[in-house]
């Protein structure tokens, strides 16, 4: 049987069945069915929700209307639960306090470490003062011993004494001045003295 023969046979069978019964449809019918469907999709879930809520309400009411001994048991259990809750809350708050104290201590330790790493400014200033005074003494020594600039050397020693009177190098400056004075008076030749060794930086 060829495809065309089969097709003809099928079409004849279809024709002999006749057309379907006429369908009468009006837009109003379709619109009514559409509205009905929308209402169904809304009302059914709402009704289901209402039934569930009513069931929950009935359950709540039934719990409240239970016999007295059961209610007492429930009350005692509730009281125990509250006590446990209070003790739990206290323990939790204590734990929080301990944790906070530990955090504060850690922070304190960190700050102390940072503070220790910061150099003392007074010490820094004192170091700079010593360094400056030393440089002046060194310059004055050179002036006197190598450059033969006695007056400039004297001035420099005096400046050290004037600027840093309590410093150790002021004492050295005073000694230098005394020795220069003695030298000038011709009593001793101090330039060969080992004490006049140039201060090596």
């Amino acid at each position: 049987m060829t495809e065309d023969n089969l097709k003809n046979l099928l079409q004849k069978a279809d024709r002999t069945a006749g057309p379907p019964e006429p369908v009468s449809m009006k837009l109003s019918d379709i619109r009514r069915r559409a509205n009905h469907r929308r209402i169904l999709y809304f009302k059914v879930p709402v009704a289901a929700a209402a039934i569930i809520l009513i069931a929950i309400g009935i359950r709540i009411v039934s719990i409240k209307t239970q016999p007295p001994d059961q209610q007492e048991k429930i009350a005692s259990l509730e009281a125990q639960i509250k006590q446990l809750q209070v003790s739990t809350d206290a323990a939790v708050s204590l734990i929080h306090e301990v944790l906070e104290a530990e955090q504060r201590q850690n922070r304190l330790n960190e700050l102390e470490v940072q503070l220790a790493s910061i150099p003392d400014p007074l010490e820094e200033v004192q170091k700079q003062v010593d360094k400056t005074a030393f440089i002046l003494i060194y310059q004055a020594d050179r002036m006197y011993l190598e450059l033969n600039q006695t007056e400039s050397a004297v001035e420099t020693y005096k400046r050290v004494i004037q600027l840093f009177p309590e410093n150790q190098w002021a004492k050295v400056a005073r000694e230098r001045l005394a020795q220069i004075k003695e030298n000038q008076s011709g009593k001793t030749d101090l330039k060969g003295d080992s004490k006049w060794k140039l201060q090596n930086v």
């Binding site: 099928l10 002999t16 369908v23």
Partner: protein, 205 residues
């Protein structure tokens, strides 16, 4: 080869469809009445064939147009309204098959010649017994053919109905059924094989 006239008619139908959809989108629901008038017969005929010729397809046809009414504003216009309605019809028929029981009409329909009996003429004078017998045999044959189609698996039956009875082009069948051309050809081939097996006895006669 599509003729010039058929192209023009297709274009006219497309333009008409777009106008109707446009009007409906703007709130003119009477445009939907025009769509119902244009396509209700085609939808009913397709549903009738897909469900095994139950003849009463009012419910499913109304369901199809109800779905169309609710979904027309979302219609993407990537095909004709007819194709879209046929797609809805196919889907509705698939869900209806679970509910419907295909009734096999055992009543022998009255041959056409018997209609004239209503004019008062004797039935026996109109047809010889042999003629009536051949008419009945032919009706039984076609009923078996319809039963064979109805007995096909759904996807094969859809392909046979759309191709041989609706005589739709391949592209449109593929769009309606949501399948590829190759799949369609395979289904048609297997459907033909099954029908040839089921109807071999009739073919020999």
């Amino acid at each position: 080869m599509p003729t010039c006239e058929s192209n023009i008619s297709v274009m006219a139908e497309t333009i008409n469809d777009e106008l109707l959809v446009e009007q409906f989108s703007k709130g003119n629901e009477s445009a939907f009445e025009s769509i119902v008038e244009l396509y209700s017969a085609d939808v009913a005929a397709l549903a009738n064939r897909l469900l095994g010729w139950p003849s009463d397809v009012e419910d499913i046809t109304q369901d199809v147009f109800l779905a169309a009414f609710l979904g027309l504003k979302k219609f993407r216009r990537d095909c004709s309204i007819k194709t879209w309605l046929f797609t809805i019809t196919i889907n509705k028929c698939r869900s209806y098959r679970h509910k419907w029981k295909l009734r096999k009409s055992r009543t022998i329909p009255i041959p056409k010649s018997f209609d004239q009996a209503q004019d008062g003429k004797s039935i026996g004078m109109r047809l010889s017994p042999a003629g009536a017998h051949s008419e009945l045999m032919e009706e039984e044959t076609f009923e078996r053919v319809r039963d064979a189609i109805a007995a096909l698996p759904a996807k094969y039956r859809e392909a046979v109905v759309l191709r041989y009875l609706q005589e739709l082009p391949t592209e449109e069948i593929c769009r309606i059924s949501g399948i590829s051309k190759n799949t369609l050809q395979v289904r048609l081939s297997r459907a033909r094989e099954r029908l040839k097996l089921d109807l071999a006895e009739l073919m020999e006669k």
